[in-house]
Amino acid sequence: MLSVEHVSKVYETRGGPYKVFDDVSFTLQRGKNLGILGRNGAGKSTMIRLISGAEQPTTGSIRRGMRVSWPLAFGGAFQANLTGLDNLKFVCRVYGVDYKPLVPFVEDFTELGAFFREPVFHYSHGMMTRLAFALSMAIEFDCFLIDEAMIVGDVRFHERCNYELFVKRKDRAFIFVSHDANAIRKHCENAVVLHESRLHSFPDVDSAYAFYLGTMAPKPQTNQRQGM
């Protein structure tokens, strides 16, 4: 089970501390999934980074009773003069997996051809995204963290990603973050909404969606970046 307990996150800014979340708690059982809705800047990606352990919460704790992935399709860790294969090797070494059996899958999914063994600085943006996604799929996790904004590609790429994630790995838990309510409705059994540094829970996706629509209504004189 994954449990987020009373988590707050504060960033220091030039204008003083800025609180992204205040006392957020929720749990996720093995094999279950959760959608997190929120407007731009609500802190969805920050939440994903905290759950993955890339960043530490300011207060509260996050317990990971299962293998939780890194934020899916994150490509920032690519070093320009390393090849796609080098990057696969690196990830495999970090997670203690033999890389050789995974080469065919990654080559097939990324469709990089000869470029798989070329330095990443020759890659287009699309090639980079495909490699990043394939590496995320190469390591097996119990729970995947999906930030929809990171998976940008054409329709075919999206279909292949959806197949890998939601068909081949439908027994796994996942947390899906998006500002696109339709995507959340399509893939998630439960949904919560991040709004003004609080996490709002709902009995079903539809009521979460209704609340989310409400948060989108224009409110005069509200500047969400003036937290605290």
């Binding site: 960033y11 980074r49 993955s52 352990g53 890339a54 960043e55 530490q56 704790s61 996050i62 317990r63 990971r64 009773g65 939780v68 890194w70 934020p71 994150f74 920032g76 860790a77 690519f78 070093q79 003069n81 390393l82 080098d86 090797k89 690196f90 990830v91 070494r93 970090v94 997670y95 203690g96």
Partner: protein, 265 residues
């Protein structure tokens, strides 16, 4: 933090070794590439430095001959020792910044990034010293060490000093850019005082006291005492050096922990 407490020490240790191995392989390729000598540059780079300094000092006729130490041996022992503390620190500066994206992986921590660079620099400097010393001994330009164990002890102390300094300075860069600005002039100014180019015995009494505040001076004195024997009266206090290194290590570990918690993307 909570997740780590659920791991046993042994499991944590194996994960850390795994991560260090991954980082080391990655660092070697990103730094040296696959062209020409590749990874051999890890040893080649410090060798070129030491060779250059040895040539300069020999050509300038810095004669310590009268004091019983051949100039080549003096330069090789001195400059190799400087590399031990200077290179590890210089490479740990920027270590966190350049590896920041890797910290996205939960098991990759600030300490791993710094330890990787420290290990590589120490391996490089040590190999360069061994290769150069063996080569010059073979040519007959350098004597065989009088007491190998004392040389090793001096080398170990210098490695500890280099590692602890690198840890502290490397972690400190996470908090202030000033560290970056100040390190290079500091390293430059420390070099002539570090004992590489003199034996403490040759200095005036007043200056000896000042120079002996610097921990690395004690390490080089010990190393040269082992290498040349009693040709020159050595001045060192290994207890003092160990105290300095312990303090640096503790402060370094504290800052590393703080830096790890404040990582942001």
């Amino acid at each position: 933090m909570a997740a780590t407490s659920e791991l046993s020490f042994f499991k944590g240790f194996t994960i850390q070794l795994r991560v260090l191995h991954a980082l080391m392989m990655r660092e070697l390729i990103t730094r040296f590439g696959r062209d020409n000598l590749g990874v051999l540059w890890l040893v080649g780079e410090p060798m070129i430095f030491t060779l250059g300094v040895t040539t300069l000092w020999s050509a300038a006729g810095l004669s310590h001959g009268g004091k019983g130490i051949p100039i080549v041996a003096f330069a090789v022992t001195g400059y190799s020792s400087v590399l031990m503390w200077r290179n590890a620190t210089s490479h740990c500066i920027g270590g966190i910044e350049q590896n920041r994206p890797l910290l996205f992986h939960r098991s990759v921590r600030v300490i791993d990034v710094l330890l990787t660079r420290i290990a590589l620099e120490i391996i490089g400097a040590t190999s360069s010293f061994i290769v150069l010393a063996s080569f010059f001994i073979f040519l007959g330009w350098m004597p065989v060490p009088v007491n190998l164990l004392t040389v090793l002890a001096g080398w170990f102390m210098l490695a500890w000093f280099g590692a602890s300094l690198a840890l502290l300075i490397g972690a400190a860069t996470a908090f202030s850019h000033l560290v970056h600005r100040l390190w290079h002039p500091t390293a430059y100014l420390l070099f002539p005082m570090s004992g590489a180019a003199f034996m403490v015995e040759w200095l005036p009494k007043k200056l000896q006291e000042v120079v002996l505040f610097l921990p690395m001076v004690h390490g080089i004195e010990l190393l040269r005492n082992g290498y040349f024997g009693d040709v020159v009266r050595p001045h060192y206090d290994i207890g003092y050096m160990a105290e300095c290194c312990s303090a640096l290590t503790l402060c370094g570990l504290y800052l590393v922990r703080k830096a790890g918690r404040s990582v942001e993307f």
